[in-house]
Each structure stands twice: as structure tokens, then as C-alpha cells.
């Protein structure tokens, strides 16, 4: 089942009179339950592409269908609702809310984005804390845990609402290699356990080797995908 489909996708930024094309006519399809990496040098359009898939930015041309929805047509409110319902995000800088504990950071989308009842919330958070290996740190604030632990919490937060798709923009850029590897392994494990599709961007060759499907972007254009595992599309 195709989860994401892009056809002739364009994104051009306008700065005053100057137009800067970031994505130039990209076509691709991503199957559900796959573990996909967009790779390429800085400025190649990886983040722009992820932002468009995540309904954070609108395409200026072509069509982009995510979970059977033409996301290019969503207005600001509808896009927020769509993100809240279907998509989880993992950021390069973790972006945990500093005033909330680990537990509360994971709980945040369940109360502020969706309205889960308390019992169901508690169960879900306990399951995710266990899954990301942070059960013992639930009451700690983000400034009391390491970078790797923060990203584990971010993974749990992204999965809290049972999102079908998790987008991670350079999730390992601020981590040392071993920690980065463990975070990627965690993401893969969550994909296996929950069936969530993970799409991430990276320019780290070792990390991109962990992806099952790799899309390489160069100057806003896509090279042919290299499929490393047929299981990714199963």
C-alpha cells in the first residue's frame, strides 16, 4: 500500500524578487511500513521535502498525496489537524518542552493535540517508555537527561498518538555515532513493532546505510531510489 506519492513536485521559495527553487519536479512513492531515508548534501532539498510531506509547507507545483490526502490543498488549520492525527515528528534538536517531564512530553500530544482519556494515556505512555527504554527516567526534565535519551523521548512522543507516519529531519545530527546508531535501531524496532512508516533525512553515510529505501536528492532533484530490502515494501 502506497502511503506517500509525489508527482511532479515543485517547491520554489520567493525572497523579494528572487525565486529560489528548492525541489524541482520530484516523483516518488513510499510504501506503508517502510524505513526510508532521504539523503543528500545540505541545500539539496531534504528538509523541504520532509516539510511538505509533514504538511508544514505547501508545494508550489505537482501533487503530493499523504495517507490518501492531497496535502497541498490543506489550509493551516486542516494541516494542523492532519499532522496531529497521522504524523509524528522527530527533530534534530530534540525539541522537547523544557518545562515538562519526560512523561509529560510524551503525554503532550495526547492532551493538547488529541483528547485521550487519562487511563488510556497512562497505558500508552507506559508502553512507549518501556519500548524506548526510558521507564526509569519518566519524572526527569529534559535538561536532566542525555542527548540520546532526549531523542528516545522524542521518538516516543512522535509515536504517542499512534501516528501512521513519523518524519525525522536529521534525527542523529546532534548525537555521537554510537548513540545515533542506537536511535536509528530504536526507530527501526518501533517500525517493526508498530508498523509505523519512518521517513528520515540524513547526510551521514553510516546512518543512511540503515535505511531500507534511500532516496538521494541533488540540487532539488531525485536520483533513482536504491532499494536495499524488499521487506521494506511488504
Amino acid at each position: 500500500m502506497t502511503l506517500i506519492r509525489a508527482e511532479g513536485l515543485f517547491k520554489t521559495y520567493r525572497t523579494g524578487e528572487v525565486e529560489v527553487p528548492a525541489v524541482k519536479g520530484v516523483d516518488f512513492a513510499i510504501e506503508a511500513r517502510s524505513f526510508v531515508a532521504f539523503v543528500g548534501p545540505s541545500g539539496s532539498g531534504k528538509s523541504t521535502l520532509l516539510n511538505m510531506i509533514g504538511c508544514l509547507d505547501h508545494p508550489t507545483g505537482g501533487t503530493l498525496t499523504v495517507i490518501d490526502t492531497d496535502v497541498g490543498t490543506l489550509d493551516r488549520r486542516a494541516a494542523a489537524e492532519f499532522r496531529g492525527r497521522h504524523i509524528g515528528f522527530i527533530f534534530q534538536d530534540f525539541n522537547l518542552i523544557p518545562v515538562l517531564t519526560v512523561y509529560e512530553n510524551i503525554e503532550y500530544p495526547l492532551i493538547m493535540v488529541q483528547d485521550w482519556p487519562e487511563q488510556k494515556r497512562r497505558k500508552q505512555i507506559a508502553r512507549l517508555l518501556e519500548a524506548v527504554g526510558m521507564s526509569g527516567q519518566a519524572d526527569k526534565r529534559p535538561d536532566q537527561i542525555s542527548g540520546g535519551q532526549k531523542q528516545r523521548v522524542a521518538v516516543a512522543r512522535a509515536l504517542a498518538t499512534d501516528a501512521q507516519l513519523v518524519l525525522a529531519d536529521e534525527p542523529t545530527a546532534n548525537l555521537d555515532h554510537d548513540t545515533a546508531y542506537r536511535v536509528i535501531e530504536l526507530m527501526k524496532k518501533m517500525r517493526d513493532e508498530l508498523g509505523t512508516t519512518f521517513v528520515f533525512s540524513t547526510h551521514d553515510p553510516k546512518i543512511m546505510g540503515e535505511a531500507e529505501v534511500v532516496f538521494t536528492l541533488e540540487d532539488g532533484k531525485l536520483r533513482a531510489p536504491s532499494e536495499k530490502s524488499a521487506a521494506a515494501h511488504a
Partner: protein, 425 residues
């Protein structure tokens, strides 16, 4: 909503020093305003009470045109018996009137047999006058307070006159007056007591019994210069004034309210005035009200600027955080409510603390019994008080301003583009 509240509280705690400073500013503002309103209100009420309870009454009824020439005490503008009866019937009928007192006002020459000066005299029924202006007996600083306030042939004279004419209680003096026909008559009186002067109109008048005034003026029929009215509840002044104006003058009162112009009726040949229209102190009372308004505007400005400043800073410093919560799908209205709640809590915190401190301070001032002087009045005790309505209005105003001040920053946060916000450095 509870979760939004919880996160808002934590965000305020995160910037603890700023939150404390802003709340302190609002608290100080609230304390200043509530104390000012309480003290100024007490001062105003006390002063108004001095005028209404010692001299004027709450309302006065005159024949039309009398007040315009009141400095001359025109006897030809006295109310005729039919008019007096009409007024008395209206006052008896009104359930809001506690007491009323008919007065004959006249100008006379006051002689101690060696010197002569002028005096304004009120002819009164002592019992009715004491019921209408209950502070009058208390103004007697010399003389017997036993029995009736005045017996026939007795006079109460103002302290200034007594001092100037070297007259003491028990002395005999002569009043010489000209009646409306121009004939002059004189009558001796025994000084029953000396009255402490009060500020304002009639504050330095003498008093004789109304029958003595009629004899002195050789009145052939019971004319009256004015009827002073005391209300059961001074708060009903406006409505009673309107009602009496309509009934006695045939037209609803358009003025004569506290701070207003003299109220004049139309065709009944009578006019009704409130104390405010008769006393220059009403201007001071208006100034106090105006000052209170300015103080409230200052408070509103303090709240508005400080909360606007804090909330703008809060939004600016948390742009990436706003980007994060927006990216993960937080609805814009919830982001709006989060920042509005933060502003509201700042305002509420300051308001609750400020109100509590103010009420304690007002209580303390009442215990310490601070005294002050006003005109000839010495050692008046300040009794600051504030009504629940005033507290509610001021508190509500601050909370509303806090909400309004947070609106722009909160709106900005809720409309923020997540991509730009996430990329903010």
C-alpha cells in the same frame, strides 16, 4: 483546559524572576488604586456627610427662583402655605424620606448693645431640624444640650460671630430684621449656645425657632423659605430627586444631581435641588471622582504595558517551542489559549495578591484611626472603606486588561509558521 492551565503555570514558573516582577508591579498598582479609592471614598463620604447631616440635608425644596437669589435671602420668594402643603404631602407620601424640616431664612442685624453686625438666621422647628440634620446638635460647642435644641426666645449663634462680637452663652442680643413689606422689627434673644462653623453654605448661620422668625418678620401667614429633606438611604438620592422633581415641578429633574447643575422644575412654581447643586463641595467631590478615574487609567496602563511586554518576550523567546508544538499538530486555538492563560494568570495573581494586601491595609488603617483636618473640622477620623462592587470592578478591569494585553502575542504565536519557527535561531 486543566492541562493548558498546568502548562501555563509551568511556563510562568520557568521565567520566575520576570513573573514575580510583573506580578509585583500589578500588585502594587492594585494596592495603590484600591487604597486610593477607599481613602478618597471615605474622605468624600465624610465630607458629604458633614454637609448633608449638619446643614443642608440631602435635598432641598424652594420656591422657583429662590436659589438663584439665595445670597439675598429674598423673603418675597418664600413658599406660600399652599405650596408648603403640596411639598409636605409629597414628602409624607414618599417612602424614601426619613425626615424633613421647614425653614425660614432671613438676614438680620445682630447687636450686642455695643456693636452691630449682620447675620443669616434660620427659623426652625428644633425637633424636625435635629431629625433632618442630625449633626446640628453636635455642633454646639458651648451651651446646654439639655432639653429642646432651642426654646422660644433663644438663639444659636456661629462661633466666629460669637468671638467677633464677644458674646457668650446666656447673653442677651438683639436681632433686627426687615420684612417683605420693608418694615423693620427688632426682638431680643438669649444666646442658647455657640455653634461650631462648618464649611459650605449656611455653615455659619444662626438658628432661632420658626415661630420667633415669624414674629420677627411679622408674617401674617406661615410662609417657608426652604424645606430640607433627609433620605433613609442616601444612595436613593437620584431616584428620589427625579420623583420629587416630577411631582412638585411637573418636569423630571435634569440636573441637581451630585455634580450636576441646579435642578429646576417647570410649571409647579417650585424647584428641587440635591445637596450637590447647593454646595461648592460637589466640585471637590467631582475632582475626587476624576482623580479616581485617572488612577484607574494609570493602573490599566501599567497592567497593559507590563503584561504585553512580558507576553511579547515570552513569545519571542519560545519561537522554536511554538514551532514544535505547532508542528506536532497542536491546534492554533490551543496555542492561543495557552498564551492567553499565561497572561491571564499573571493578571489574576497580581489581582488576588493586590486585593488581599489592600483589604489588610484598609483594615489596618481603620484600626490605627488616622485623623485629619478639613476646614474648620479638626481631628476627623479617616475610616477608609471599599465596597465589594468597587473591588470587583477594579479586579475585573485588571483581569480583562491582562487578557487583552495577551491577545496580540497569543494571536501571533497561534498564527506562527511552524517551519520558520523551527528554523528560528
Amino acid at each position: 483546559m486543566l492541562n493548558v492551565l498546568k502548562i501555563a503555570v509551568r511556563n510562568l514558573a520557568r521565567f520566575g524572576r520576570r513573573t514575580v516582577l510583573t506580578s509585583t508591579l500589578i500588585t502594587l498598582g492594585i494596592v495603590s488604586v484600591l487604597l486610593f479609592v477607599a481613602v478618597a471614598g471615605s474622605f468624600k463620604a465624610m465630607m458629604i456627610g458633614q454637609f448633608t447631616d449638619a446643614v443642608l440635608g440631602h435635598l432641598e425644596v424652594h420656591r422657583r427662583g429662590y436659589v438663584a437669589s439665595i445670597d439675598n435671602l429674598p423673603l418675597n420668594l418664600n413658599m406660600q402655605p399652599a405650596m408648603v402643603e403640596k411639598v409636605e404631602q409629597a414628602l409624607e407620601k414618599s417612602g424614601a424620606v426619613e425626615a424633613y424640616s421647614e425653614r425660614i431664612k432671613l438676614g438680620a442685624m445682630f447687636s450686642n448693645f455695643t456693636e452691630t453686625t449682620s447675620i443669616r438666621v434660620n427659623g426652625i422647628d428644633p425637633a424636625k431640624e435635629a431629625a433632618t440634620t442630625p449633626l446640628l446638635p453636635g455642633r454646639m460647642i458651648d451651651g446646654s444640650k439639655e432639653g429642646a435644641l432651642l426654646n422660644p426666645g433663644e438663639i444659636l449663634i456661629p462661633a466666629l460671630l460669637a468671638r467677633g462680637m464677644k458674646v457668650k452663652t446666656g447673653d442677651t442680643i438683639v436681632l433686627v430684621a426687615t420684612n417683605r413689606d420693608g418694615s423693620v422689627n427688632g426682638k431680643t434673644f438669649v444666646v442658647r449656645g455657640i455653634l461650631e462653623s462648618v464649611s459650605g453654605p449656611s455653615g455659619r448661620d444662626g438658628y432661632i425657632r420658626i415661630e420667633d422668625a415669624r414674629n420677627l418678620l411679622r408674617m401674617t401667614q406661615p410662609e417657608i423659605s426652604e424645606i430640607a429633606v433627609r433620605l433613609k438611604d442616601p444612595a436613593q438620592l437620584d431616584s428620589v430627586y427625579e420623583q420629587l422633581s416630577e411631582e412638585l415641578t411637573g418636569a423630571p429633574g435634569s440636573g441637581g444631581k451630585p455634580g450636576g447643575m441646579a435642578g429646576k422644575g417647570g410649571g409647579g412654581g417650585l424647584e428641587v435641588h440635591t445637596w450637590a447643586a447647593l454646595s461648592p463641595f460637589s466640585n471637590i467631590a467631582n475632582m475626587i471622582d476624576l482623580l479616581t478615574v485617572f488612577i484607574k487609567i494609570m493602573l490599566v496602563s501599567i497592567v497593559l504595558i507590563s503584561i504585553l511586554n512580558v507576553m511579547m518576550m515570552a513569545v519571542y523567546e519560545r519561537i522554536r517551542e511554538i514551532g514544535t508544538i505547532a508542528a506536532i499538530g497542536t491546534p492554533p486555538r490551543r496555542i492561543l489559549s495557552l498564551f492567553l492563560t499565561e497572561g491571564l494568570l499573571l493578571g489574576l495573581g497580581g489581582t488576588v495578591l493586590g486585593t488581599a494586601i489592600s483589604l489588610v491595609a484598609i483594615y489596618a488603617l481603620n484600626i490605627w484611626k488616622v485623623t485629619f483636618n478639613f476646614g474648620m473640622q479638626q481631628g476627623l477620623v479617616l475610616s477608609p472603606a471599599i465596597g465589594a462592587k468597587d473591588v470587583a470592578i477594579i479586579a475585573g478591569m485588571v483581569v480583562l486588561m491582562a487578557l487583552l494585553a495577551s491577545l496580540q502575542p497569543a494571536w501571533k504565536a497561534s498564527r506562527m509558521d511552524p517551519v520558520r519557527a523551527l528554523g528560528h535561531v
